[in-house]
């Protein structure tokens, strides 16, 4: 490979520093023995992590967020499977518009989605709770699920399914014994991505949650109290590690999906 021009290379290094600057601060202040978030640092402590254990509101928020994220991930992934499969294998009237509608949340500011849902829920007299957040999250997670799963369904050699039918298996049996095992890595990747997106989503949750906060809503509330900031840093650090683990698993399954489906001669 030829060498990059010095100017370009320096830019790349500075840009990387810019990208990493904020998250570098997380571990620094999470372990800093001072209740003020500022330099100079004063010493090492794990108190902030220990402190998180006793925060009941945090635990409730975490529980809410987990319920929301898991439910939203499962339902969006089901929607993702249905949509990706329809797009990859069927031609039908209104294919493009319906696909556009399902993908539209990707191209709308979250505040618009949040507000629009809020209006409907209020008009219908539905009280806000974690289920209303789940509805919103399904809406924004489904497009991500579709984009992950579409290639899995589309790259699969059609004759593999036909072979299964030809060998006497029913359509449902074909899905269970051939299609699903082949797209399973993609399904897992989609579950992980949707879970992560939902866990992190703030604006829609902020609009649609009732008295039960989600984790980001809890964090938002805490950001107003300077004394809580070091604990939030500790929490943020834990969340970062968690996301990275999920990301690593996601990457593993995405590659598996590619090798599994990409391995056939065509």
């Amino acid at each position: 490979m030829k060498k990059p021009p010095l100017l370009l290379f320096s830019f790349v290094i500075i840009y990387l520093v810019f990208l990493y600057a904020p998250i570098m601060l997380l571990p620094i202040f999470a372990f800093n023995d001072s209740s003020i978030i500022a330099f100079p640092l004063s010493g090492f402590t794990v108190d902030w992590f220990v402190g998180l254990m006793g925060e009941n509101t945090l635990h409730r928020a975490l529980k809410n967020s987990l319920i929301i994220a898991i439910t939203a991930a499962v339902i969006s992934t089901c929607f993702g499977i249905l949509t990706a499969r329809a797009m990859a294998r069927h031609n039908f009237l209104g294919k493009r518009p319906s696909f556009g509608l399902i993908m539209a949340p990707l191209f709308l500011p979250e505040i618009i989605i949040g507000v629009a849902l809020l209006i409907v829920l209020i008009q219908l007299g539905i009280s806000l709770n974690i289920w209303t957040v789940i509805l919103g999250h399904i809406l924004i997670c489904t497009p991500f699920s579709v984009s992950i799963l579409y290639s899995a369904f589309n790259n699969m050699d059609k004759s593999i399914e036909e072979a299964s039918l030809d060998l006497g298996e029913t359509r449902f049996g074909t899905f269970r014994r051939v299609i699903f095992p082949l797209v399973k890595p993609g399904v897992i990747a989609s579950l992980l991505i949707c879970f992560t997106i939902s866990l992190d989503e703030f604006v829609i949750a902020f609009f649609l949650t009732g008295v039960e906060p989600t984790l980001p809503v809890y964090i938002w509330a805490q950001l107003r109290f300077p004394s809580k900031l070091p604990s939030i840093m500790a929490l943020g650090f834990i969340l970062l590690l968690l996301s990275l683990i999920l990301l690593a698993i996601f990457e593993y399954y995405r590659r598996r999906s590619e090798t599994l489906i990409g391995n056939q001669p065509s």
């Binding site: 004759s159 039918l165 030809d166 060998l167 006497g168 298996e169 051939v178 599994l260 001669p265």
Partner: protein, 368 residues
């Protein structure tokens, strides 16, 4: 039913099968009967609708019109998974997440047979296709030829009445292809199952089949045994698709009750029995054809033939077992191809050499 004892029982009957994709009519009304135990080939150039026809027999595609009868049962409304047919796909369609044994057992597992029986039948089938001991081999670790055998075993283990093969050998190299051709033939004879093979390789069709249907543009152009198709092609198009054929112009110059006399361009006058004249040809513009091996090079000056002419070698293609000469026809700017087997010690002419060629009137064909 009495017909069960009948050797000539029809296994597959196609009646007026039509299929279009959008505005494109791909299969244009095909009628065809295929007998039980027959090795039948659908031969034709790319895009002529062979695969589509095969897929309709398998139930993977629905005809727009017409009926498919397999073993005296109408297949209208019968799904692929309920038909007594199995298919070997062009891409083999091996299940990538299953190993060899699981691939072959796929259909049996659906039938919920006892595990031990499945295992025993799979092992027997693997033996038959020469994959002894490959049961646990993962499918990605297979060569092209091995994939082909797995696909074959997977289909045959269900004991279909008809086995459909879509260009099963086209992805293999020449050596392996020839070996598999023999093997397929052997398996077909052993099991007595009806095979329908789709191929665009005329040599493959000639070697393997009991009968061949030559397809062009969604129609069957000619149906017959390999010998009939090769020796008596009905049209110029079939003739040039199968083997090499020289074409000459001809014109009827005299008729009797039984014969017609034809002036064949620069070769002279030849008589043909009226039986050999296809229907509907214009007697003023006849297409005359002959195969390269039907004309003989006369090496010895004293050698005799019914007709002879002198020419000059314009090109030589040496194939080892055969030599193909391109020669100018006497008093014409047309070229013909003549082939000779290279028996031991036989001379191979060089460019520009004079050559004497002999031929018999009966080797000329009138083509549509």
């Amino acid at each position: 039913m009495t017909s069960e004892q009948n050797d000539n029982e029809q296994m597959v009957e196609l009646r007026g099968i039509r299929k279009s994709f959008g505005d494109l009519e791909v299969v244009k009304g095909i009628d065809l009967n295929i007998a039980k135990g027959e090795f039948f080939s659908l031969l034709g150039p790319s895009g002529c609708g062979k695969t589509t026809l095969l897929r309709m027999i398998a139930g993977l595609e629905t005809p727009d019109d017409g009926t498919i009868v397999i073993s005296q049962q109408s297949m209208n409304g019968v799904d692929a998974n309920k038909r007594p047919t199995n298919m070997v796909f062009q891409s083999y369609a091996i299940f990538p997440h299953l190993n060899v044994g699981e691939n072959v057992a796929y259909g049996l597992i659906k039938q919920r047979l006892p595990k031990a029986e499945i295992r025993q039948r799979v092992d027997a089938m693997l033996k038959m296709v020469d994959l002894d001991g490959y049961y646990n081999r993962p499918s990605y670790a297979l060569s092209g030829g091995q994939r082909q055998r797995v696909a074959l075993a997977r289909a045959l283990i269900l004991e279909p009445k008809v086995l459909l093969l879509d260009e099963p050998l086209s992805a293999l190299d020449k050596k392996l292809r020839e070996q598999m051709q023999d093997e397929l033939r052997r398996i077909q004879r052993t099991l007595g199952i009806t095979f329908i093979l789709v191929t665009h390789d005329q040599e493959e069709a000639l070697i393997m089949s009991d009968r061949i249907a030559v397809m062009f543009d969604g129609n069957i152009a000619q149906l017959g045994t390999p010998k009939e198709i090769y020796d008596k092609p009905l049209s110029k198009r079939v003739a040039s698709f199968i083997g090499v054929m020289n074409f000459l112009k001809g014109k009827c110059v005299g008729e009797t009750k039984t014969d017609i006399k034809v002036e064949v361009a620069t070769l002279g006058q030849v008589s043909f029995s009226r039986d050999l004249v296809p229907e509907g040809v214009s007697l003023d513009h006849l297409n005359i054809g002959f195969r390269p091996e039907m004309f003989t090079v006369l090496y010895d000056k004293k050698e005799k033939a019914e007709n002879t002419f002198m020419s000059e070698v314009k090109n030589v293609d040496y194939y080892g077992d055969m030599t193909y000469y391109t020669l100018a026809l006497p008093n014409s700017d047309m070229d013909i191809t003549v082939s000779m087997r290279n028996t031991s010690g036989r001379y191979v002419y060089g460019l520009g050499e004079a050559i004497r060629v002999g031929w018999r009137s009966s080797s000329l064909l009138i083509l549509n």
